[in-house]
């Protein structure tokens, strides 16, 4: 730049103006017209000259300014490029790299917007924006740029991708190809744009760098374009280098990963050269063969191969050299300690990058345990097979089509065909009626089994064997039906026996028939009588049930009745005691003298009261016994004392009647219910006194040893004999029934409850566990004997 060049014309210009002003000033001065005209022309000439100079200067200034601007821009672009290169060197992530480049280009070089697009190989041939910087404001999303040769592909970006050559819009306002993007570009301040292809190492375009400027014709100079193209070249190189770097890193990682897998594998993994030398040896190999890596590296793989199998190695190597892998080859190998192991070997060729076989990898797996299992299984199978073969029944397996899949020896002998002849043929062919055989195995498939299906097997010589077939489906591990297992049982002998039996049966049947006819006749007669009897029995049964029901009802009623009487009588007694008590008090004149008639009346009240009391007491006792409410309460006492106590209670009556009393009582220790025994004895005595008018009453006791029982199991016999009216023989039975009073001349005058003997016998039986006997002679007297155990348990 030369500033003086600018200043000098400016001074000239000032000078000219001064001259003009001078001339103009002169015009106002009084001068000649001519002079005026000349001067005017001169001034005009000068003015136009100056104008021309001025114009030239203006153009010059504009161009200089432009040059200056271009220079400044180039400077900025250079700075941007150097920044870009710095970024490219340091980049580790492609997206980050692209973002930064776009920002730097906008920030450093002062462009409006910069973006990077990748050319997609899709149907639309779209240019996919991957990074941008500057004022984008959604432009790229709406721009729909493609690299196809269409309207939207003919802009700089599309063109650059398609042709690989740099392309520009010098002015969005005027460029006809920019029409589709014009409004949106101008809105965002884009006036011009440039697109530069991004190429990989092989020179193929993979993307594009597009830059927008706010000025028109911003990308006009070759210098500038060259700089931007270099920048794009650096960017493409940077991207490719970054991708390679990442790819290498990934490959390394994956290699390490593979190495780790190999190392940790349970299988032995061995690398070897084509002449069989060991190159690598993993932990699995150490474990399997017992050698450490450093012991075997470089040595021949043949150290692992048993003497007799050495030939395998050359075969394997030959195959590998031809690129053929060996898969799951089962063989034996030697361990370091000399023991043999069973292994499954897979050998694969190792190729270099050009596909040439350079070595082999061996993967060996220990299958010793599996081999042993297989051997065991084989033995088990052989054993099972021998069982099947040993069976005397023909056994066959059939597939779903009815074809024989397996047979045993018995089948061979019954058909006369060998195993190999039988297998694969139709099962039903070996029977006299093939249709039946087919029906039978179809039934098995349908129902799962058949039992005792009768068929006839046919020998090739024509001999027929009757059999019963038992068959069922068998399944594979998944539970699907695989076929039918059928076992035939030869029933020739059985059938013979059956025929004989049948003959015998027929004979028997005939005889039975004859006998049956005979019997039927008699049976019919019997049936008739039986029917009649049955009717009677039925009637009886019905009646019995009715009676039983009635009986239990009655029993219940009877029990209720007894309970009612017992409790009611008890209530009656209390007032009755007062009646008796106060009659006695009055009768004995405790409260004052009474006359003879009053005395007689009171005596009747007293006697009636006592009678009623006796009656009530007896009723209570009877009711209690009948209701099952009475219990014996045993105590120890002397029988002699008890007899005398009872006697003392009737002494007064005896004396009044003038009867003679004789007592012969033994001293005998008893253990029984004293109170009840006293009651019984007293009853007997009272009875005797009541029915005896002359003579006397005798009381005797006797202890009787019961034969065959223990010594202490004695019975006390207490008998009361009177010389009273006696009882007719036929009436003796009635004596112990309740409320029975025999017709007698004394009946109307002798007081009695009619319960005395009944109650006495009840007490003797239920409480004292003994009994009572009556002997009597009518008109001469009676004897009642009580027999009770001396000791109650």
């Amino acid at each position: 730049v030369r500033p003086e060049l600018v200043i000098i014309p400016k001074l000239t210009n000032v000078f000219a103006v001064i001259v003009v002003l001078f001339i103009l000033l002169r015009r106002w001065l009084p001068q000649e017209e001519h002079e005026k005209a000349q001067l005017n022309a001169l001034v005009q000439e000068q003015i136009s000259e100056l104008a021309e100079i001025n114009n030239k200067l203006r153009i010059e200034i504009t161009e200089r300014k432009r040059a200056e601007e271009a220079l400044r821009r180039l400077n900025r672009e250079l700075r941007a490029r150097s920044n870009c290169n710095r970024i490219l060197m340091q980049a580790e992530d492609e997206q980050e790299l692209l973002n930064e480049i776009c920002h730097v280009i906008c920030d450093e070089a002062g462009y409006r917007m910069t973006w990077v697009g990748y050319a997609d190989d899709d149907d639309a041939k779209s240019v996919r924006p991957v990074a941008w910087g500057g004022v984008e404001e959604g432009y790229l999303a709406e721009a729909n740029i493609t690299w196809a040769d269409t309207e939207r592909g003919r802009g700089p970006t599309g063109t650059a991708v398609r042709t690989g050559k740099t392309a520009c819009f010098q002015d969005f306002e005027t460029d006809s190809k920019a029409a589709v993007w014009r409004d949106k570009a101008l809105q965002r301040g884009y006036r011009s744009s440039i697109a530069i292809a991004l190429r990989d190492e092989s020179g193929n375009t993979f993307g594009v760098l597009t830059i927008y400027s706010t000025e028109s014709n911003a990308f006009a100079t070759t210098e500038e374009i060259r700089l931007l193209e270099e920048l794009a070249g650096d960017l493409a190189f940077g991207i490719t280098a970054l991708r390679n770097r990442i790819e290498r890193k990934r490959a390394e990682e994956s290699l390490n990963h593979l190495a780790a897998i190999v190392e940790s594998s349970d299988d032995a993994i061995i690398g070897k050269s084509l002449d069989g030398n060991i190159l690598s040896w993993n932990k699995g190999a150490e474990r399997l063969y017992g050698y450490r890596e450093e012991e075997v590296k470089g040595r021949s793989i043949s150290i692992l191969i048993p003497q007799e199998l050495v030939g395998e190695l050359s075969n394997f190597l030959e195959s590998i050299k031809n690129g053929k892998p060996i898969e799951h080859y089962e063989t034996s190998r030697l361990r370091k300690d000399g023991s043999r192991i069973e292994v499954s070997v897979t050998i694969s060729p190792i190729c270099d990058s050009c596909g040439k076989v350079v070595g082999a990898s061996t993967i060996a797996r220990d299958i010793t345990a599996r081999k042993q299992m297989e051997e065991k299984l084989r033995l088990a199978n052989a054993y099972n097979r021998s069982l099947i073969e040993a069976s005397l029944d023909p056994l066959v397996t059939i597939d779903a089509d009815g074809r024989i899949t397996d047979v045993n020896a018995a089948t061979e002998s019954v058909t006369g065909c060998s195993r190999s002849e039988l297998i694969g043929t139709d099962f039903s062919d070996y029977f006299t009626v093939p249709g039946d055989a087919r029906t039978s195995y179809r039934q098995v498939f349908r129902e799962g089994m058949v039992k005792d299906y009768p068929l006839e097997l046919k020998h090739r010589d024509g001999l027929v064997t009757p059999v019963l077939y038992n068959a069922s489906v068998y399944r594979d591990e998944a539970g699907d039906v695989v076929g039918v297992f059928a076992a035939a049982r030869d029933i020739t002998e059985r059938r013979k026996a059956e025929l004989e039996l049948q003959k015998l049966n027929e004979e028997l049947e005939q005889r039975v028939k004859e006998r049956t006819a005979d019997l039927n006749k008699r049976s019919a007669e019997l049936t008739e009588s039986k029917g009649a009897l049955m009717n009677i029995v039925e009637d009886l049964n019905e009646k019995t049930i009715e009676l039983e029901q009635a009986n239990s009802k009655l029993q219940e009623l009877d029990r209720l009745k007894s309970m009612f009487i017992a409790s009611m009588s008890h209530e009656l007694r209390t007032p009755l005691n007062s009646v008796i008590g106060f009659s006695s008090v009055l009768l004995n004149e405790w409260v004052g003298p009474i006359n003879a008639e009053q005395k007689e009346n009171l005596a009747i009240i007293l006697r009636s009261g006592k009678h009623l009391l006796n009656l009530i007491n007896d009723v209570i006792d009877v009711s209690k016994i009948e209701a099952g409410k009475i219990e014996s309460t045993p105590e120890e006492f002397d029988l002699h004392d008890l007899i005398f106590e009872a006697v003392s209670l009737v002494k007064k009556e005896l004396e009044e009647k003038g009867l003679v009393l004789r007592v012969a009582a033994a001293h005998q220790q008893m253990r029984t219910d004293r109170r009840r025994l006293l009651q019984c004895v007293l009853n007997l005595l009272s009875n005797a006194v009541k029915f005896t008018e002359q003579g006397g009453v005798t009381v005797e006791t006797r202890i009787v040893q019961v034969s065959g029982e223990k010594p202490e199991a004695c019975v006390a016999e207490i008998s009361v004999t009177d010389t009273g009216i006696g009882i007719r023989e036929e009436e003796i039975g009635k004596m112990f029934q309740p409320f029975v009073r025999l017709f007698s001349p004394l009946q109307s005058i002798v007081p009695g409850t009619g319960l005395g003997l009944y109650l006495t016998r009840k007490l003797a039986a239920e409480v004292l566990k003994g009994d009572i006997m009556l002997t009597s002679e009518y008109g001469k007297g009676s004897r009642l004997t009580l027999r009770i155990p001396v000791r109650l348990p």
């Binding site: 008890h570 008590g581 106060f582 008090v585 209570i620």
Partner: protein, 132 residues
């Protein structure tokens, strides 16, 4: 005068027993409840006690136990009068401390003699010979 304590809630019986004992020269001290009987037994020191078992408040057994437990007790005879229904409970009666028992009904003509016989008392003799 000889005193007899009669514990009896039935007025008719009380009257009857009173006739019987007064006739034999006893002064009858009546008690209608068990508690009253206990109180009078301690205070009046009768020659003996006639004790009904069925009483409205505490029963005769409890009254007997209380009398026996009191300091005033000098083994005074207690004769229980039992109803027919109580027959099975005689061991209870003796365990409670009664000297003897009679079953109802009471015969006014013989009751006093029976008790005299039982307790070994004769005529107007007031000494008590206990049954062992």
């Amino acid at each position: 005068m000889k005193k007899v304590l009669v514990v009896e809630d039935n007025k008719d019986n009380m009257r009857l027993i009173t006739y019987a004992f007064e006739r034999s020269g006893y002064k009858v001290i009546p008690a209608e409840t068990g508690e009253e009987g206990v109180e009078l037994a301690i205070r009046e020191r009768p020659l003996f006690i006639i004790m009904d078992i069925n009483l409205p408040d505490i029963d005769g057994l409890e009254a007997t136990r209380r009398i026996r437990a009191s300091e005033a007790d000098d083994d005074i005879p207690i004769i229980a009068i039992t109803s027919f229904a109580m027959y099975g409970d005689r061991s209870k009666i003796l365990d409670a401390g009664c000297t003897a028992y009679f079953e109802k009904p009471i015969d006014p003509l013989t009751i006093v003699d029976k008790i005299h016989l039982l307790l070994g008392l004769t005529g107007n003799n007031a000494t008590v010979n206990e049954e062992q």
